[in-house]
Amino acid sequence: MQILYFAWLRERIGVPREELESTALTVADLVAELRSKDPRYDLAFADMRAVRVALDQQLSDLDAPLAGVREVAFFPPMTGG
């Protein structure tokens, strides 16, 4: 699946997107998997209260299942307008 990062999550992780094969069942599982991968991820996801997630471009949450999802995006709370 495609994983996208925006704003300071993108900057901390160092890439805007990456392709990842994962068996994670939920968003929380995926975050745990990423955090164990590299300290940059561990730092970026240290405070999950500051992280929002979208599954296939729709706002979702940490408990959401990943079955069938092709695109996961992580980002801070939005500041548009």
């Binding site: 925006f6 704003a7 706002l59 939005m78 500041t79 548009g80 307008g81």
Partner: protein
Amino acid sequence: MSVSVQAQDFDIATEIAALTGARKDIGAVVTFTGLVRDTAGHETITDLELEHYPGMTEYALDMIEIKANTRWKLQASRIIHRYGKLPVGAQIVLVVVAAPHRKDAFEAAEFIMDYLKSEAPFWKKEGTPGGGKWVDAQARDLDALKRWS
């Protein structure tokens, strides 16, 4: 109803004219324009960089516009949101709403702006003399959403 996510600037008069055209049934037009301010609190701002999530942004703006048109009796609406690096004083966002009555037009424009602040995937990074700083989401922007629920 239409939304645009674009790097280029926009012209308010052109957008209003495109919405109202030769129509004679519109009673009220409300516009909101958001601009890059030169200060944030006590900090000097040199420019503003707007990052967004292409694809999801358009989808989110469409949804917000549909919600507004479902809730109020509108005759036309338009949302333009820019991205990229913008200088101080530049236009960031435009909302135009046309309705038979002023109350609907005012409320719908404010509703769209409130949702846009918290549900459209944009992130602002303010340029300051000390470097770029990601703007934190404001508790008051989340509070503003509550009045609509």
